[in-house]
Symmetry: C2
Subunit: 202 residues, 2 copies
Amino acid sequence: MQTNNTTEQQIIEAARKIFMHKGLAGARMQDIADEAGINKAMLHYYYRSKEKLFDIVFDEAVDKLLARVNTMLAEDLPIARKIEGVVSFYITNISDNPYLPMFVLNEVQQNPDRIIQRFTHTHLFPNIQLFMKEMAAAMERGEFRKVNPLQLLISILAMCVFPFVAKPLVQHLFKVNDVQFGMMMEERKRFVADFVLHALKP
Amino acid sequence: MQTNNTTEQQIIEAARKIFMHKGLAGARMQDIADEAGINKAMLHYYYRSKEKLFDIVFDEAVDKLLARVNTMLAEDLPIARKIEGVVSFYITNISDNPYLPMFVLNEVQQNPDRIIQRFTHTHLFPNIQLFMKEMAAAMERGEFRKVNPLQLLISILAMCVFPFVAKPLVQHLFKVNDVQFGMMMEERKRFVADFVLHALKP
DNA sequence: GTCTATAGGGTGATAGAC
DNA sequence: GTCTATCACCCTATAGAC
């Protein structure tokens, strides 16, 4: 049982790496087996099918992407601090898994039904609505300039996520290696927070 | 020759639709043949292989995505007007082809080398650099608040492109149908331009 | 130019020895 | 639990009749 647990974990890690880079359609069971250093038959022994293995990796990815940001969204902070917190948490989170957003967005497009179930299961949506209401309230108080809260939310998300989705393009066009890209994203935490707060100044 | 031309075009249009939605790995030659209403063998008769057919569709997509924005980047306008123009052109352009950015970004990640050749062929990069220089100059004049021009450029791009990349998610989470999404993107042109210009106020 | 039939190779999944 | 061998199917690509 002790090796069992390890092998299972090795398979999941290998599957995560392969699926993340190649997607469901592009990934091969042989690739995953090679990456895990085991036989192809073992994959089916532990996880019945490619589809099941993918579901596990995908669900895990969505949870990882949202869990920490979700808690930050619910915290009791002044709205400006909360924006800074969400931006910082989100960029940190994705920096640890740079291929995660592209992976999720791509597979959502391929199979929208899957995500409907998954995203509904997490308690994300209430917290997003809370966040939007707090921003709307700050506008009413005159603390923020009045803008469409949904457009604002999408913009904040966009500025955090997009650089990673476009990572290969950014790296090529502006000749930045992985280390430099990491530094750019670290700098970006302050940039995005400042950018948003300036844009919302009355 | 007259039917020849038509069939060729039908194939390209079918290939574009299928490749856009399913990607290179996910698309099947049978899908494209069905979509074009012809036989599978015809695809190979007109375009030797799946790869060649894909290359044509992909190159065409990149050109479409960049051509109009590229000219706008080079125009002689005050920087604030140019930002408004770029944002408006870009959102209009993508609205006509909502799956285009996801398609390009996804395939760039799968095969970075392909894009290196393609993006270099267009004259995009000089115009991007011009745009960044003009923004930097506006900062020097005190017309704009001083920020990192590269971070700024990525942010503008992000706010234009990301909504389309995340379209299925946005539509589900906020219960917007295709018509409403179209209206949101129309509204977004002004939102993004205002947001950026406010964020850059000294 | 357009079709049917099929080659040739790969892929997910399973059977069965150890 | 782990491996080899193999099945059954699917996919790209081509040959060849019309």
